[in-house]
């Protein structure tokens, strides 16, 4: 851990908030991707479509 001096709170806060925001975005993206995959598979099963990809 480097010595951040008086500004430790600011630096760590900035990194914390950024990681939270970007992490949230990545998590949401992956969640939605998984859901879409499942929805498509279900739709294909229902309608007898040929799965491609």
């Amino acid at each position: 851990m480097p010595d951040l001096g008086t500004y430790a709170g600011a630096v760590l806060g900035a990194y914390g908030i950024s990681f939270a925001l970007l992490g949230g975005l990545v998590a949401l993206t992956l969640l939605r991707a998984a859901r879409a995959k499942k929805a498509l598979a279900a739709a294909e099963a229902r309608n007898g479509g040929i799965p491609n990809d």
Binding site: V11, L21, A33, D53
Partner: protein, 231 residues
């Protein structure tokens, strides 16, 4: 779809590696700035996020133009996929900027041209996303949002210059430019480039995943529609 499926893992890995390397290098192995102290480390998040916040809009504009001219469906979906990513990057740039501004300028927020322009950009992203959500017919939604993106680009640019006229700012000049005089020092420059590469790759990966999601959802909807039509 097949090509993007194959390159996606590679790109994801590259994004993770360069992002981690750039940020770790910047966070642990760079000296403090003689004026800013350790807050200079925020630059590795702030500058790449800000850069990509603007580039994401430009990418949406290009995708919208392609949709308008060639009516290539994937391009409309890619523009839709990029908007939340761009909005999040804008938010990261604003948040890190505020946190940096508090100890350095003595204020969280100032109505400085750059800050204000980013807030305006954020509002444009939100409006764009809201219009996508509001229009039910997907073809019409793609057309309308593409039109909004083009109109919005013109007005975002106009606002940028209007805001410059409105108030002189606190914000420093470009951190990165071809004009070396203005640049940040080399010690900070190299990890910064690496983390910019990381943000670019992260953007590409996220947009690819989200575009694939949109394609799948649309395909599922089309299948169901055909199914009910047949039944």
């Amino acid at each position: 779809m097949r090509l993007s499926g194959r390159v996606l893992p590679v790109l994801s890995a590259l994004a993770a590696v360069s992002l981690a390397a750039g940020l770790v290098w910047g966070f642990f192995f760079t000296p403090d700035d003689y004026q800013q102290g350790s807050t200079v480390k925020i630059i590795y998040l702030h500058v790449p996020a800000a850069l990509m916040a603007i580039n994401a809009w430009i990418m949406m504009l290009v995708a919208s133009l392609i949709w308008f001219i060639r009516r290539h469906h994937v391009s409309a979906l890619a523009a839709r996929a990029a908007a939340p990513v761009g909005a999040t990057f804008t938010l990261v740039a604003l948040a890190t900027g505020a946190i940096w501004g508090q100890p350095m300028w003595g204020t969280w927020w100032a109505w400085d041209p750059r800050l204000t322009s980013f807030l305006i950009l954020f509002v444009f992203y939100l409006g764009y996303i809201a219009l996508w959500e509001a229009v039910e017919d997907s073809e019409k939604a793609a057309d309308l949002t593409a039109a909004l993106c083009m109109v919005g680009s013109v007005f975002a640019l106009l606002s940028r210059y209007a805001v410059l006229f409105w108030n002189q700012g606190l914000h420093q000049g470009a951190s990165l430019s071809l004009d070396k005089e203005e640049n940040v020092a080399d010690v900070f420059y190299q990890p910064l480039l690496l983390s910019i590469a990381g943000f670019v790759l992260l953007f590409v990966v996220l947009v690819l995943i989200r575009t694939r999601t949109e394609i799948r959802l649309r395909r599922a909807a089309a299948l169901d529609q055909r199914g009910t039509a047949r039944a």
